[in-house]
């Protein structure tokens, strides 16, 4: 058998990607409504994780601001798509949510990306709390509400918008990784000072990438808000959405492009299964899975897959 065709990643990776995409796009035709809803949630986690990886993966800046941008998206939906009738078309609202998240990220990034290491992580986490508290204050003292209801949107529409965001995100992530911009971002993560002295405008590269990653988080938030139909500041700015992307990315493995994607997909599915099958022990089992991952798969799932792959094809294809 000719193994070279089989080995060539140029052929089978895009092929596989296309197959998965077709499978997803036609899901509402053969799958149940529950499947569509579940896939929407999984896609949401993938979007959060991969967009987190776009910035934090190569740059080494641990951002815990995901929940902030996600929440900004959720609130954009809540304000522009109230139950009494939409102000704007659904798709436009999603784009606006992405744009607002971008602006917030660029402003915050310009102020804070000079902070390094743990200081940056803590500040970004503080941002989630800050926006949440300001919003609570505003809702109580000005609008006199705590939560908001969102217009009902068709489940399939929600699914397809989420899928669209996912596709655009994957293309963006791929091109950033392959471009000179990606090389600059990596060099910042490896040695920021050397990058700056080699002509990289480090502040701009960091701020722009931070902004790009926030676009997708905001857009995903806007879409999922239509599914949740009721939100309040505690739901929208839940710090869990800052931590989950990090955990999912590590679970999948940061070494490979597809690592965070697989990690988020399996992680989200696992969460759903555990939550429905073992509602009382789900957090406990989940914790055990995480500890096991850290102990036995330090390179994440993809590390494990690669080891198996190398054994399968004879080992001469190290991680090229």
């Amino acid at each position: 058998m000719d193994m070279s065709l089989f080995r060539s990643r140029r052929l089978w990776i895009p092929g596989l990607a296309l197959l998965v995409l077709v499978g997803l796009a036609t899901l509402p035709l053969y799958g149940s409504l529950y499947m569509t809803i579940l896939m929407t949630a999984i896609l949401m986690y993938i979007i959060l994780t991969v967009s987190w990886v776009i910035f934090s993966g190569p740059s080494g800046y641990l951002s815990l601001a995901s929940a902030a941008f996600f929440g900004v998206g959720i609130y954009t939906s809540a304000i522009l798509l109230p139950t009494k009738g939409a102000v704007l078309p659904v798709l436009v609202v999603v784009l606006i949510a992405g744009a607002i998240s971008f602006v917030v990220a660029v402003l915050v990034g310009a102020l804070t990306l000079r902070l390094r290491g743990i200081y940056f992580a803590i500040f970004t986490f503080g941002l989630v709390e800050l926006i949440k508290q300001v919003l609570i204050f505003f809702e109580i003292s000005v609008t006199g509400t705590r939560g908001r209801f969102i217009m009902l949107v068709d489940t399939h529409t929600i699914f397809y918008i989420m899928l669209g965001i996912f596709v655009v995100l994957m293309l963006t992530a791929y091109f950033i990784r392959r471009s000179k911009f990606g090389l600059a971002l990596r060099s910042i993560g490896e040695n920021e000072e050397a990058a700056a002295h080699s002509g990289v405008n480090v502040t701009m590269v960091k701020v722009i990438t931070f902004g790009i990653s926030a676009v997708f988080m905001g857009a995903a938030g806007a879409v999922i808000a239509m599914r949740w139909t009721y939100i309040d500041p505690y739901i929208a700015f839940n710090p869990l959405f800052s931590f989950l992307p990090v955990l999912m990315a590590i679970f999948g493995g940061l070494g490979q492009f597809y690592g965070p994607l697989i990690g988020a997909a399996i992680f989200a599915y696992l969460e759903e299964v555990l939550l429905t099958k073992f509602p009382y022990y789900y957090m406990l089992i989940f914790g055990c899975v995480l500890v096991g991952t850290m102990l036995f798969m330090p390179m994440g799932l993809t590390g494990l897959i690669q080891r198996g792959w190398r054994r399968l094809i004879g080992g001469q294809h190290a991680d090229a």
């Binding site: 000179k180 090389l183 050397a194 080699s198 405008n201």
Partner: protein, 239 residues
């Protein structure tokens, strides 16, 4: 023509004057050496020139333009590149891409990725890098990491190179190769400003030398003048 000029350059760390009222200039096409005991302020002066620090007072001019206060990437794009005392390379990035980064971002004119890679390969050959160019830079020997750093600096199409102790930690053979390389860099038309501890090396390659001590300039002149200067001998050898 004066390539680089500093006038009363001063930098304090807290109450300590790391660099105090230092005047210097580097002529186009020369190899200019900077020596001095540990803590004399040599690397601080490099950091001031390359934009890592801003001087508290004084002016630094490059090609006649004031550069003190500019961001490092701007100074780099004006044609000044540097290496570091502790090599700063991108450890998990292939050597050739380490160098290509300089061509992609540091050069005044933008180039395509393919051109940058080609330039990077040529420069790695030029600096005597003789191992596969796709090896991640972190796995290279110190001498080769320094070669990568120099190639990256050259890739920015720099007219002037600041070399901070390129010979430290090298074997005698490697030191000789490095000296040779410094001369070849100058022959390409690049002005070289270097900090060095290896006396034999600096006396052998430099056209002029400046000596710093406790942040102040105590002497400058030709290698011969420096090696016979009473003040310099006092500082280095004690009375």
């Amino acid at each position: 023509m004066r390539m680089l000029e500093g006038e009363k350059v001063t930098k304090y760390f807290g109450g300590l004057a790391a660099v105090l009222q230092v005047d210097f200039y580097v002529e186009q096409g020369e190899i200019f050496g900077l020596i001095g005991p540990n803590g004399a302020g040599k690397t601080t002066l490099f950091n001031l020139i390359s934009g890592a620090f801003t001087p508290k007072s004084g002016v630094i001019k490059f090609k006649g333009e004031k550069i003190s206060g500019l961001k490092p990437y701007k100074i780099c794009r004006m044609g000044m590149a540097r290496t570091f005392q502790e090599v700063k390379i991108f450890a998990n990035v292939p050597a050739v891409q380490n160098v290509a980064l300089g061509a992609l971002f540091g050069a005044p004119k933008s180039v395509s990725t393919a051109e940058a890679t080609k330039e990077a390969e040529e420069l790695l050959d030029f600096v005597g890098f003789a191992v596969p160019k796709n090896i991640p830079a972190g796995g290279l020997t110190l001498a080769n990491q320094k070669r990568v750093e120099i190639a990256r600096a050259l890739a920015t199409k720099a007219d002037m190179l600041l070399l901070d102790e390129v010979m430290a930690g090298l074997t005698p053979t490697e030191t000789a190769e490095a000296m040779e390389l410094v001369k070849r860099i100058r022959d390409r038309g690049v002005t070289v400003f270097l900090i060095e501890h290896v006396m034999r090396a600096i006396m052998g390659v430099c056209d002029r030398i400046m000596v710093l001590h406790h942040g102040e300039k105590i002497a400058d002149g030709t290698p011969k003048e420096i090696s016979t200067s009473k003040k310099v001998i006092e500082v280095y050898l004690g009375e």
